[in-house]
Each structure stands twice: as C-alpha cells, then as structure tokens.
C-alpha cells in the first residue's frame, strides 16, 4: 500500500532494513502463519527439511499463542511446535544473525540466500540443495533451457530491487530461488494444505497420481526419517507432476536424494531454501483450488481424507446453491400473505452472478460484502432502484487460512497502484491489464516464475493471482519509519467513584493474568497512568525495588515528569509491572477525591506515547469535571423517550482534536466507560472514534451489585488484551474507474479521499463505505473493489493484507433487485441512519429508514412488476428487508418510547458503526432457537462432535411456549429463557436444578451434566460461541429475572407500546407503496 502520497524517506529505509533483518521477521517467511495448526505441529517432530523452517518461524508459535485465532486448538499446536523450534534452533539461529547483519536485504525474501553464504558448513550441504533442486529439475525437461537463460536476467532484475543490490555476486541462481519465497501463513492453512495436497492431486488429476506417487514414496519413506517431513515432498512432486509428468519425475528423483541427505546429516541446517518453497506452494495451491474455504472447512481434523470430503461437499453445495438460487430468486412474494419468510437456517449472502471460475476466486463475503451483488451501470439506474450501494468490510478478521507471500517486488499497477489480484487479465505472458484503471502493465521478470508449479512463464498461476485475500510481507519501501514496537499504555480513573465500582481490581487482575499473552515481542513496552484531580505516573525503571509514583498536580499545563522509565520494556521490567498491578487496586482505597481530570490525563498520555505510537486504554467511570475537556451533564431524564432534543452531538471539539493528534502520532485510544451516571459518551466517544480505537460501555458497573457486568468486562478484557493487533496502519479502498467512494463509516480518520488512517487495527472492527457511480459503466462487464490494509504486526513486521472483490455490472432494475444483499443493505442503512441522527435528528433518521423500504419497494413495484398484484409485493432477495428495518427501528440506537439512557443509545450507535456486519445483524435481529427438545436430526458433525441444529424461529412471543426453553443468540449476549412449565427433564438434565423456582436469577452457566441432553445443549452453545472471536455470556432467565425485559425487547415482530408489530409495519409500508 505504498501510496504515492506516502513517500519513503531514504534514510529511514536503510535503518529499517537493518531492523528488519534483526527482527524475527527476517527468517520467517513461512513461519508467519499466524496460527499453527495442531496437526502440523504434531507431525512436526519429524523435523526435516520441512520443519527446519520452523525455527525461523519460531517466534510465530508464540504469536499464535498470543492471538488465538478463532479459538481452535491452537494452543496445543503451539506447545508442540515450540520444542521443535528449539531443537532445530541451533542450526538456524546460528545462521540467521549473520545474514541479518551481512546482507541488507529487505526482510524476508532475502532470507534464503543470505543464509546460505555465511556458514561454510552449511554451504557445502545447503548450496547443492537449492541448486540441485532447481536446476536439475529445470535441465531435464525442455523448459530447462529457458530456465537457465532466464535466470541470469532474473538475477539482474533483482539487482535493482533492494535485495539484489547488496547481495553477494554470483548467486544469480540462488537469487531466483530466494526471490520466490512463498509463505503461507501457516496455521490451519498449513494444515489444510498439508492434508489436502496429499489427496488433492488425485482429485484434480486422476491420471497423474501414479506418476507422482512413485516419486513421493521414493524420497522420504525409505529414508526412515520422520514421516511428517516426507509429506511435503510428495506434495511438491505432485505439483510438479501435474503440469509436466516427465519433468516431475525427474525433479522428484533429484529431490529425493537430497532429502535423505538432509535427514541423515542434520535435521537442522539443510533444507531451508529447498523446503521453504514447498510449504508456501502447497498452501497457495491449496488455497487456489479451494477458493476461500468457508470456516467449516477449517476445523482441525484428523485424517486427510476427512478434510478432503468437506471440501468436495462444499463445492457441491456452493454450486448447488448457486443453481437453486436463481429460480427461487426470480420469485416475487406477497409479504402480507406469506408471513413466515425467515429461513430456519442462518441467512446466506447472495452469490454474485459471475462465471463459476471467477466466483470461486472471489473474496469471502465475511470479509468483503457489497449491498448489491449486481452493480448498476449508471447512477441514474442506481437512483431508480432506491437501494444504497456500498461495501461492508471486515478486513482484519482473524482468518483461519491466509496465504502470505514474500517476494522482493510486490506487483502493482503502475498508475493506480492496485495490487495484482485474481481479476486482472493477462494479455499475454508479459503484460497484464489492471482491472481497476485498465492500464496495461508489464509483468516483472521474477513474477514469471511460478513457485507453485515451479514453471517459468505462468504468472497467472502465482498465488497473488489465485487468491482474493492475501497478505504480503512489505519491503522497506512501505515504511515511513522503522516498524514501531508494540506499546500499551493503561490510563486508570482512580477517583472515589472509580474505587467504589471496584473495577480496578478486576482490570489489574486480568492484566496480570494476560501479561504474557499481550501480543508483542521482546520490544513490547508498557506503561501506566492513573488520575483523579491530579495525574499520577509510575516509574518502572529497571533496578527499582518497587514502582515509584510521580504526581503531577498542574493539570492546566501537563508535563511528563521524567522522560524515560514511564514506558518500559515489558520483559525487562516485568516484575515491577506485576508488582504495580498487585498494589494498584489497594493504593487508592481511601481516596476522597471525587473530581476527574480526564482531559489533562489524556493529554499527558498522548505526550508520553507520541514518540512511538501504540495503544492507549482508558478506563473512565464518570463525567470529566476538571481541566480541559471538562463536560457538563446534558441529559434530561424527562426527555429520554422523545426523539427530539437529545444530545447526540459532542459538546466540545477537544476530544476530536486530541484524537486527530493521536491519529497523527499513531496512537489509538480505546475507551472503557464504566459509569452509573450520564458521562456524555457523545463527546468522550470522539477520542476513540477518530483515533480508530473502540468504545466499551458497562453501564452501572459495580463489583458487587452488578455481577453480570463484571463477568462481561472480564471476558471482554480477556479478548481485548490478547487479540491480534496491527499498529500504524492505513487502509486504502480502491474501486474500478467510474465508481467512487461517497462516505466512510467506522472508527478512523479519513486522511485523503480513499485513505483511512488507522493507528491501530483490531480484528473486531468492521467498516462500511457508501459508493456512487460517477461515470457510466456501460462498457464494462465486471467491477472490482480492493481494500489494502498496511500494518505493523505485533512482531514488528510490516504487512499488507489485500482483499479483492469482483462483481458483475448489470443494466436493468430487475437484475439489481435480484442481486440485492438484504443484510448488507440493512447494515449500511444502519450506518447511514446513525449519521443522519447526528447531523439531523433521530426522528429524521427513523423516517429515512422507513422511506428506504418504501422507496425501494415502490420502485420495484412501478418499474419491474408488469402486472399490479394486490398486497405488498417484494422481490425474493428483499423478502426480509422490511423485517430488518423494523428490527433496526427497535434497536437501541433508533428506538423511541423507551427509557433508554442517552449513553446507552450512543454506545449502540458506536457499535453500529464499528461492528462487522454479522455481529451487527445478530444484535439487531437475534436468532431464536428452541433448545429443550434438541435432537441429533440434521445435526452437524464437527470433529467428532455432534452439534444439533435447531431451526431459527421468528422473533415473536407467539413462537415461545411455556413448556419449552428458548435460546436467543444476540451476538454479544445469549439468553436462555426457560418457560414456566418447562419439562422436568430439561430442568434436571440440562440446568441441573430440581424445579423451576430453583433456577438462580443470575445463572450464567450451564452445568456440565453427564446426560445426552446436557451434552447436546452445551455442544450447541459452544458451537455458537466458537464462531465468533469474543465470548458471549449466557444468561439463563425465567419469568422473574430482570433480564426478561431485554429478552422481550428483542422480540422485534411484536407490538410494543411505541412501536408497530411486524404485520402493522407491513401494512403501513403497503399503504405508502401503493400511494
């Protein structure tokens, strides 16, 4: 994402490189797999060429542990891996340092070759390998000639890339090999690929298997080396084999001898260069064949055959759904007659009407979604359809499978800087045409070599062109300064009010528990500030026997009392930090200070962090009353329910300005508000909103009186502290010429027309943009959108995550309606409505929501339907549109008539803006299941666990019954409502209570009983939880529970005193439409 706008300072660059080399990054190409999957790791012990890479990556496993991605059994994997890495460590670790110092190569790709030269010993063994593996293979078949001829040019080409310049001469061939290091971010992907590759070849190429199988067995098995190591070899060979059988066999033979060598001689030094390639290739290939395997695929599973099957099935279902959609999609529905439109399974996003081959490569809808899967040709057409056009992104989602690529040059369009992606067209082998600006670009020499197939001249099969979601390791051109260390600063409110709530205890304890899990490396820095009417700093200098507190009472002109030791290296001062965290909660036990000087404290924190940037976590429990940024209570309780005259806009620009300052210095502020009274979140929230932080709100938090919030905070902190984080990030969203971005939604600062400045990026943040059609798209068939997120990982690597979405252009209204994605539309409308309520008023926003439905349905009625039906006719794709809009109207952000507190409403609005679509939809329109009669019928089978799949019910009280138990999944909370006459069976077998009355009012856990019913229920609930990164708390409620009101509030189809029921709403819309 080196935007033209971001120049690279030369001086910085060199410094950078040095740093890079030193940083763990250097060796880690493959390693980076964010997650290592257990399977892989378990096999690893073999420690062969394949594994040898691991050492390089060995920091990775740690990372995995830190950032549990999708919570699968990564931990196990991590543990097994680390020993391995240690073991292999000697060989590689030795090599690594020299390389870093010797050759200044841009991070990763330099790795392989640089390694080879330094150690003489290794050289002898190692050099033959790479050369052997590549050249022999090359020489044998006809292509070989090409190869050798080309390799010198390649070398020269490389020279002008940073890597080449410093690199030792005469290693032309090695260069080649080095350049194409493909890494796939291993985790599951590794595993997947690993497994699949074995079986995949057979699938793809039925005839071939024989050819490669001979090769495969040859190498590893006989040697008796560790079995896991071998696995890769067969794969490699298989890939070879596919393109050219003869070639492959030759290559195999060449390769196989080497492997034994490695095995026998040493598990350590050998195989880097060689083995390094295979994993990457495999992954990428796999990825390409699979497209974006849906999460279901990725469950770590035992036998290869198993994974294979889901893949096949998946394909089938996908294609089937594609087929079946169309006839169904053409249907029109009279909503007044067909009332039960809610599907009993989770709603699937519509599949764009693209050729199957393209669709296979398209970006997963979880990451990148467009409200209209058919893009209207002209703005006029879009206006006619009255549907919003926009994208919903979840770019930094924790991914189970993510191909990572390291190469010296990242191929991008020369005029619009688009990253090469699966939807570009290759005019011939040498030129590709950008799919965003249509410029014809040259294919760089080194891109001609496809490391996947090891064939020269197949640029279109490179992983970059086979994956719509891919991550690049960015070379130093993408850095303005050396990658920053992870810096975490915690700012605690310690006024009397704060101490009363008792939050400090919990937060410190949680921090203490997760100190080792904070994403970071040896450079991680941490610091603490507390404040009431004064600001307290803590010196954590190494060597101090206990933390030293420094008080600054001059809040009008805040200064930092000492330049160093306030932010300290976590590893070096860990004991002091732990000490501080243990004593902090008691330190202020007797405080009588009630004032809060939040503004000055934030200024101080900003000053402290501005040299490095990082993450600031602010805990606040009341309205700030002192110094700059002091606020006045604005809420008038009597006016809560009316839609007018409420203060949704900030009262001061102090927080916004400070946030922009923070953004400029790469500091993000996360606000945790735990207050009982009005705290003017509208003003305070700005600090997080524009610095790309997040807001968490725990109304009426109290450590004793409100155990529910305590538990919530505990769980969310756990996730917050350990989740992945990207520093000093920017995101650019590009789209095909003719489209332009109209409005951005989310927490960030829009630095220029398409560049979002994100000081921190976290995996739980979603973004939305509204698009408009500027120029007619009449001569294009397809449009593409690309989001590129450039960030510094917690390990100090600069990475670019690129997602590309391709959609067809349509020319008729009917097609637009056909391809409408109702969830995305509802999500985008919610974002727009938040803006509207802030700039205009809440009632305007509500009207706009209703009008959106009315307008689009009347457009459909007047322009698409030929004959006028009675009733409310909607296209199939929009059958849930009125329901979702009604749900939005009843959502906390936009509801009227209830006594919602202003802060809660504003928090709900923040959530609308900052949440990924799936969670937003779940909070707006929760899923309701009946769980007292779960059966294994139609159950899902994942990892030998049977997960019942009860149908989703409509959100109406009429679906409830007193003799049942119902689970409502609202994203961040789950509510299990137990009916009064619920079967004794359920009570005793699942809840473990004697009778209805003995259900505790605050029950938040299901006991693990040794009964099939309990097992099923728990399996189902934990399956729901596994699908999201955070941990929704389960509340078991009965009629007397205080949570019951919340439960009923979610019943969006029912009438409330101030809101229409679904049917009434439909009638209202029908009236308007038929006007």
């Amino acid at each position: 994402m080196s935007q033209p706008g971001i120049p690279v300072s030369g001086g910085a660059a060199s410094g950078l490189q040095a740093q890079n080399g030193a940083a763990p990054t250097s060796g880690s190409p493959y390693t980076n797999g964010p997650v290592q999957n257990p399977l892989m790791s378990s096999q690893v012990p073999a420690s062969q060429g394949y594994n040898s890479q691991r050492p390089a990556s060995h920091h990775l496993p740690a990372k995995t542990a830190l950032n549990p991605i999708s919570g699968q059994s990564n931990y196990g994997g991590f543990q097994t891996v680390s020993p391995l890495s240690n073991y292999q460590g000697p060989g590689q670790t030795l090599n690594r340092p020299p390389m870093a110092s010797n050759t200044i190569t841009p991070s990763l790709h330099g790795g392989p070759f640089s390694r080879m030269p330094p150690p003489a010993l290794q050289n002898s063994t190692a050099t033959p390998m790479p050369s052997g593996s590549f050249h022999p293979g090359v020489n044998l078949p006809p292509p070989p000639l090409n190869w050798q001829y080309n390799s010198p040019p390649a070398g020269s080409q490389i020279n002008h890339s940073p890597a080449g310049s410093t690199q030792p001469a005469g290693s032309g061939n090695t260069n080649l090999t080095t350049n194409h290091q493909y890494i796939s971010s291993g985790d599951p992907s590794l595993q997947n690929s690993y497994i699949k590759s074995g079986s995949a070849p057979s699938l793809v190429n039925p005839p071939l298997p024989p050819t490669f199988q001979p090769g495969a067995p040859l190498g590893p098995p006989p040697t008796g080396g560790p079995p896991p190591a071998r696995a890769p070899t067969p794969q490699k060979s298989s890939h070879h084999a596919m393109p050219q059988p003869s070639f492959s066999s030759a290559a195999n033979q060449e390769a196989t001898p080497q492997f034994p060598n490695k095995n026998s001689k040493m598990g350590r030094s050998v195989g880097y260069a060689y083995p390094s390639l295979p994993p990457g290739y495999q992954n990428t290939t796999l990825a390409s064949t699979t497209g974006m395997p849906p999460p279901s695929l990725n469950y770590p599973s035992g036998p290869p055959t198993f994974t294979q099957t889901p893949l096949g099935a998946n394909h089938l279902t996908a294609s089937m759904s594609g087929l079946s959609l169309h006839p169904e999609g053409l249907r029109v529905i009279n909503l007044l007659q067909e009332r039960n439109m809610l599907p009993s399974t989770p709603l699937q996003p519509p599949v764009p009407n693209l050729h199957e081959d393209i669709q296979k490569l398209n970006c997963s809808p979880e990451l990148f979604r467009c409200t209209l899967t058919g893009i209207p040709q002209t703005q006029a057409l879009l206006n006619k359809a009255k549907l919003p056009l926009g994208l919903l992104l979840h770019p930094f989602k924790d991914l189970v499978q993510l191909p990572v690529v390291t190469s010296s040059t990242i191929v991008r369009c020369r005029s619009c800087r688009t990253y090469i992606n699966p939807f570009v067209s290759f005019l011939d082998q040498r030129r590709w045409k950008c799919n965003l600006c249509y410029r014809v670009n040259d294919v760089p020499e080194e891109f001609m070599y496809n490391p996947l197939t090891r064939v020269y001249g197949e640029p279109h099969r490179r992983p970059e062109v086979q994956n719509a979601t891919i991550e690049f390791m960015a070379p130093s051109e993408y850095m303005l300064r050396p990658p920053q260390p992870p810096v975490y600063l915690f700012v605690f409110d310690v006024s009397h009010n704060a101490i009363e709530t008792g939050y400090l205890n919990l937060v410190c304890q949680s921090l203490l528990d997760n100190l080792d899990l904070l994403p970071g490396n040896t450079r991680t820095k941490i610091g603490f500030i507390t404040f009431d009417s004064t600001i307290h700093f803590y010196s954590l200098q190494e060597g101090l026997s206990q933390p030293q507190m420094l008080i600054v009472s001059d809040i009008d002109d805040v200064f930092i009392p000492m330049p160093e030791n306030l932010l300290v290296n976590l590893n070096e001062s860990k004991e002091l930090v732990q000490d501080l965290l243990k004593t902090l909660p008691q330190m202020f036990g007797k405080t009588l200070e009630t004032q809060s000087a939040l503004g000055p404290a934030l200024q101080a924190a900003f000053k402290l962090m501005s040299p490095t940037g990082g993450r600031m976590s602010v805990f606040q429990t009341q309205l700030p009353t002192l110094g700059v940024g002091a606020l006045k209570p604005r809420e008038e309780p009597n006016h809560r329910s009316s839609a007018k005259e409420i203060h949704l806009t900030p009262s001061t620009d102090f927080y916004k300005k400070l946030a922009l300052d923070c953004s400029g210095q790469q500091v993000a502020v996360d606000l945790f508000l735990l207050s009982g009274q009005y705290s003017d979140l509208a003003s305070l929230g700005c600090i997080s909103r524009y610095s790309a932080g997040s807001v968490c709100y725990y109304p009426s938090y109290h450590h004793q009186h409100n155990p529910v919030q305590v538990r919530k905070l505990q769980k969310e902190l756990q996730r917050y502290l350990t989740r992945k984080i990207g520093f000093e990030a920017v995101m650019r969203i590009r789209c095909t010429k003719g489209l332009s971005i109209h409005t951005f939604h989310g927490n960030f600062f829009v630095r220029s027309t398409d560049l979002l400045s994100l000081p921190n990026v976290n995996p739980d943040a979603g973004y939305a943009v509204q698009m408009s059609v500027e120029e007619n798209l009449t001569d294009t068939q397809l449009v593409s959108f690309q989001s590129a997120l450039l960030y510094t990982s917690s390990k100090g690597e600069r990475r670019i995550r690129v997602h590309t979405l391709c959609l067809p252009v349509v020319s008729t209204l009917n097609e637009i309606f056909l391809g409408a994605d109702v969830q995305a539309i509802a999500g985008l409308l919610a974002n727009m409505a938040v803006d509207r309520s802030v700039t205009a008023s809440l009632s305007d926003a509500r009207d706009a929501l209703v009008n959106a439905v009315v307008d689009s349905l009347s457009a459909y009625r007047s322009s698409v339907l030929s004959n006028q039906h009675p009733g409310l006719i909607v296209p199939f794709s929009l059958r849930l549109f009125p329901l979702f809009v009604l749900a939005l109207l009843k959502q906390k952000s936009f509801q009227t008539g209830t006594n919602a507190r202003l802060d809660e409403r504003i928090f709900a609005m923040c959530q609308v803006k900052n949440q990924p679509l799936i969670y937003l939809m779940l909070t707006t329109h929760p899923s309701l299941y009946r769980v007292d009669n779960l059966s294994d019928e139609g159950a899902l089978n994942v990892n030998d666990r049977t997960i019942p799949q009860p149908p989703i019910l409509q959100l109406s009280v009429e679906k409830l019954s007193r003799d049942g138990a119902f689970l409502m999944d609202a994203g961040f909370v789950m509510i299990l409502w137990v009916g009064k006459n619920c079967g004794q069976n359920f009570l005793s077998q699942v809840l473990g209570v004697q009778n209805y009355a003995s259900i505790a009012l605050t029950m938040t856990d299901l006991p693990e009983l040794n009964t099939p019913e309990s097992a099923r229920t728990i399996a189902f609930i934990s399956w729901l939880r596994e699908q999201r990164p955070f941990f929704p708390i389960l509340y078991v409620i009965r009629d007397e529970s205080p949570m019951k009101a919340t439960f009923l509030q979610y019943m969006v189809e029912d009438r409330t005193e101030s809101a229409l029921s679904y049917y009434e709403f439909l009638l209202h819309i029908q009236q308007q439409v038929n006007k």
Partner: protein, 139 residues
Amino acid sequence: MEAVVFVFSLLDCCALIFLSVYFIITLSDLECDYINARSCCSKLNKWVIPEVIGHTVVTVLMLVSLHWFIFLLNLPVATWNIYRFIMVPSGNMGVFDPTEIHNRGQLKSHMKEAMIKLGFHLLCFFMYLYSMILALIND
C-alpha cells in the same frame, strides 16, 4: 464621498476574490491528495471569519450609503455566510471539519460554494468598478 465608498468596496471585493481563489486552490489540493484533511481544514477555518467580516462590512456599507440594489444583491450571500458559521455543530472544528470533509460529498459542495462565491465576487467587482468610475466622473 460616494467614490470613497466604492473604492473601499472595490478593495474589499478584491480581497474576497483572493480569498475565494485561495479556498478553491486549497480544496482542490485536498482533492488531489497534496495536503491532508487536517491541515487543509485548519488553513481554511482560519479564513472563515475574515471572509464573513469582509463581506458583512460591504453589505452594511451599501445599506448605510443607501445603495439598495447592491445591498439586496449582497444580502443573501452575506446571510448564508453568517448562517453557515453559526450553524457549526458544537463538536466540529469549524466550518471545515477534517473528519467530515471526505464524507457525503462535502468536499464537492464546499468546492461548488467557493466557485459560486468567486463568480459572485467577480460580478460585484465590476459593478463596484463601474459605480466608482461613475462616481468619480460625477464628482
């Protein structure tokens, strides 16, 4: 006396023309990504008040000197300027807010507004010039 009024108006109008051009240049810089939103907006916000004052002075001057036609011509624009300045929400950093300027086509509407003002001031410029010459001849 009349001549003095128009000489002053002419100078004021020149200043306003330069200001409009400055607005246009700065906004188009932002459009082309030469400067970032933050600095663009802080540059522009500095000049919002001088613009309001400059324009209000001319308008009032015309009212005082009983040039009804010119006064009525200036009135809507002056009103708009003041209205825009007053209606800035409390949380915004001025008429031009860096966090909003890229949203909802604000940049374009600011641009359009600056263009219209430029045209308007040019028109006024020639009108003042003509009136000034006329006044000088009459004297």
